[in-house]
């Protein structure tokens, strides 16, 4: 019982910590950078608007509108698409054409062009975002190459000479001063709006989704991220920001040269983004300012701008891959370092030693060690006695979805694999595999290396389409469902090699699985983020697993056992109905295995757990039914007693 009290008190400390940090952070998300841009921009435009300094500032602000969008799309979500210069050109040329040929004033023409660019991006994006990674980069690299060939060939857009404008961004008429300052202020407002939206997206629950998408698309999909939709949204966002920047450019410069859609514009924008800091919206703005002001810094610099930019980019990236904003952030963190350390030390002293947790965790296996292996037997017995506490905790994890799944689930099958074949090329990996699992219990899948265990898990969990046969989950055919849909139906999985999101805390790694944002679009989260709710749910799961003290640790600083536990916590957090575990015990010590075994037994009380495992002792100890695959054929299906006695199993797994 002490363990339970310890766990719940830790959970309480954690939730109160969340509450206090929430109270401490009064400024709305994205508010500070937006206000900085708005105030600083207005001051610069009003004071220097008619001077060189002011005109360079307005030009950099036009580019910053584009780079802020790139920070979300390219830097943060790592969707490298070279479409910015083309859409910058669409915005700029479009406004110029509407203005000179159809006499539409610049501001309404700009609105028309941004909407048009959004629609074009939606069409184009639905084709190109089917590609991932370098394929996306290379496919979109063709866009500026195609566009430049088109523009230089057509007289309609002014060809190599360029297109002039009659009007400016400022809608009214008046003195030249008013028009110049008014246009500059409009650009500042547009930039502030883009910074606001981008910052709010990145700090919302969808921001966390996008981060995971950037690290690993497949892991993201298996955690419920609707990857095709997010990629399309990011592409459209990047294109719309680029078109908006183009509109601002045309409206303030009153001339569109052919070079705006050149690949060189694309490269210049990328340099701004990476010097400023690729993942930071405000960094992207700073990058645009630095590059633009650099060109006019001195005569020598403007002549040798290529050398200066090349050296600057190299040095900045060597010092910090996150660019200037990363350097500034590190500097601030360093300055705050000493005081923060002191605070952390005091908190630790107040909360009791973290070592206490480790001791509590060790108690259970010690008790188990006294029992002979055979008597540990199937799941239920354990949970009643030694680990009742955790069982209480785990049941609290489940949400509504799980509750409906477990009602009377013993009788009907939750998962049915019906006659599945899988071939890669001519190689048959799975041959007529059929099995059915009920709504709860612990089941194991064994077999020699290359037997098709992981393939079967992928066919069930990650939309690797079988060559024939079908997968039925909770009465629905999911054979060809996308991975994120399976996740939302209640299928969670862990990976043979740990797939955690480096650079994020344990809490965020678990929170990813609690987002429930699959139906939301990027724009809906500008208004309200659900990140705190997801983090709170993740914190509860961690507390239930006695891991609350790890919440703020960066995942790559953890031991392998802890990383596996975090992955397990991530799989458990959404309250899955079917849990697929791919060799959860590999790399763990005997003691750690026993701890895992007790935990699995508890889980099986509520959920259906399918385990791929090589450790036969562990398998026989915890599972109520065991499946053995060999060469793609299901060769054994029975309880642990039969499993131990079976000559087939012995010759396959023990003899070899």
């Amino acid at each position: 019982m002490n363990q339970f009290l310890a766990a719940s008190s830790r959970a309480f400390q954690w939730s109160s910590a969340v509450a206090s940090s929430r109270a401490a952070r009064r400024a709305p998300r994205g508010g500070i950078p937006t206000v900085i841009v708005l105030v600083a921009g207005a001051i610069i435009v009003l004071n220097y608007g008619l001077l060189y300094t002011g005109s360079v500032f307005v030009l950099s602000a036009c580019y910053a509108i584009v780079t802020a969008g790139m920070a979300v799309q390219i830097g943060f979500s790592q969707q490298i698409a070279f479409s910015q210069s083309v859409f910058f050109g669409v915005g700029a040329y479009g406004v110029a054409m509407l203005n000179t040929h159809y006499n539409i004033s610049v501001l309404p023409a700009g609105v028309i062009m941004v909407v048009a660019a959004g629609l074009v991006a939606l069409l184009l994006g639905s084709v190109v975002t089917r590609a991932s990674g370098l394929a996306l980069a290379v496919a979109t690299l063709m866009l500026p190459l195609i566009a430049v060939g088109y523009v230089s060939g057509t007289g309609f857009l002014g060809g190599p000479v360029g297109a002039p404008l009659n009007g400016t961004l400022w809608p009214g008429s008046g003195s030249t001063t008013l028009i110049a300052l008014g246009g500059g202020l409009i650009v500042v407002v547009l930039l502030a709006a883009v910074v606001f939206i981008a910052s709010r997206i990145l700090s919302s629950d969808i921001g966390l989704e996008l981060f995971v998408l950037g690290v690993d698309e497949r892991t993201a999909a298996s955690l419920g991220v609707r990857t095709p939709r997010r990629k399309l949204e990011l592409f459209v966002l990047g294109c719309v920001c680029a078109a908006l920047g183009g509109v601002a450019y045309a409206g303030t410069q009153q001339f569109v040269p052919e070079t705006v859609i050149d690949p060189t514009t694309e490269l210049a924008l990328l340099i701004m983004l990476f010097i400023g800091g690729r993942r930071s919206v405000i960094g992207a703005v700073i990058g645009a300012l630095v590059i633009q002001y650099l060109q006019g810094a001195s005569n020598w610099v403007s002549v040798n701008i290529l050398i200066v930019e090349g050296l600057l980019l190299t040095v900045v990236l060597l010092v910090d891959p996150e660019g200037l904003s990363g350097i500034v952030a590190t500097g601030i963190a360093w300055l705050r370092g000493k005081s923060a350390l002191a605070v952390a030390g005091a908190e630790l002293a107040a909360a009791g030693t973290p070592a206490g947790t480790a001791d509590a965790g060790r108690e259970a296996p010690d008790e188990l060690a006294g029992l002979p292996l055979s008597s540990v037997g199937p799941a239920g017995a354990l949970a009643d006695g030694t680990l009742g506490i955790s069982a209480v905790g785990i049941s609290a994890v489940g949400d509504g979805r799980q509750a409906e799944g477990t009602a009377g689930a013993r009788d009907t099958a939750l998962l049915e694999v019906r006659g599945v074949f899988k071939e890669y090329g001519g190689l048959s990996v799975l041959h007529d595999v059929s099995l059915a699992l009920p709504g709860r219990g612990l089941f194991a899948l064994c077999g020699p290396n290359g037997a098709g265990k992981t393939t079967l898990l992928n066919v069930i969990g990650v939309s690797v389409a079988p060559s024939s046969g079908e997968i039925v989950f909770a009465g629905a055919d999911i054979t060809r469902r996308a991975p994120h849909e399976r996740f939302y139906l209640g299928i969670s999985r862990t990976f043979q090699a740990v797939h955690l999101i480096k650079g994020r805390t344990v809490l965020d790694n678990v929170a990813v699985a609690c987002l429930a944002s699959h139906t939301a679009s990027i724009v809906t989260r500008i208004g309200r983020s659900r990140l705190d709710a997801a983090r709170a749910k993740a914190a509860r799961t961690l507390a239930d697993l006695d891991m609350a003290h790890l919440a703020d640790r960066e995942v790559s600083s953890l031991t392998l056992e802890m990383q596996r536990m975090v992955e397990l916590a991530r799989a458990l957090a959404p309250g899955p109905r079917l849990l697929l575990l791919d060799e959860p015990a590999s790399g763990l010590s005997e003691e750690q295995r026993q701890r895992l075994a007790t935990l699995l037994a508890t889980l099986a009380e509520r959920t259906c757990v399918l385990l791929v495992e090589h450790d036969l002792a562990l398998v026989a100890q915890v599972s109520e039914r065991i499946f053995v695959l060999s060469g793609g054929h299901l060769v054994f299906d029975g309880g642990p007693a039969d499993f131990r006695a079976s000559p087939v199993v012995n010759s396959l797994l023990v003899g070899s």
């Binding site: 063709m142 195609i146 290529l306 980019l313």
Partner: protein
Amino acid sequence: MKFGNLLIAGITTGSIYAMFAVCVSVWYRVSNILNLAVGDFAMVGALGVDNLYRVKGLPLPVAVVTTLVVVAVFAYVYDQVVLRIAQDGRRPIEGIVVTFFFTFALSFFIDGAAKVLFGTDVHAAPTLWSGPALTLGSLNFERAGLLVLACAIIIGGAFWLYIRFTLGGKALEASGENSTGARIVGIDTRQYRRLIFVGTAVIAAVFGIVESPITGFTYLSGATISLTGFLAAAYGGFRKPGRALVAGLFIGVLEAMLGGYVSTQYGDTVLYAILAAAILAWPRALGFESAVSG
């Protein structure tokens, strides 16, 4: 015989693309970095020889050797300074920053330096084998083009022999398959990263020298060459030099055919559209899936 002459032109430019693509993909295998400065080394080769020979008045062989030595030393120093800090330190930089942006910055730096050293006009290295075009029936063979083809065959063949039949080549292949695994069995992958970087820089410079009489170079020509090398390497899946070679030849021939039969003005536009469509249609077959995870 329009087709035959277009084919010859296509194979000539294609072999240039192919060599740069091989340079990009061989180095990507060992370093996981895309060399976007490969074209800039070619530009330095051409303009450097031109400058030393025509302006400084050095004898041609001396000019060629000096230029190649300068390129090699520069590449060596760059690896020792920048790439060593970026990749071999306690905190190696990963992901797109190191894959694209260090060589991207290098490309800017080289272009800027070339502008200072060689000016902004169009120049070319002197033709190493001058004379009128050779004819065979109605087919015309430009001597400069034949020289390019000969270089491609000799250098490409030597490269293939090296990878296929020497221990160094095997180590290189191992580093490409699995860098960590190669390191565990005692292969110094950093040494190969340096060796191949310097080697491909010199090869690129040689190609710049033999190619420039055909096209003429300015200090900004490097980016276009890098782009074609990058594209052809992309269609070889970035890690497969053999496929990059075929892709380079194919793109060269396709470009010549589109220019000859479809439209001189919009030929390139159509080419790029076809290339983009090919990626979207068959990303797996073109080797992009494996490149993505790398």
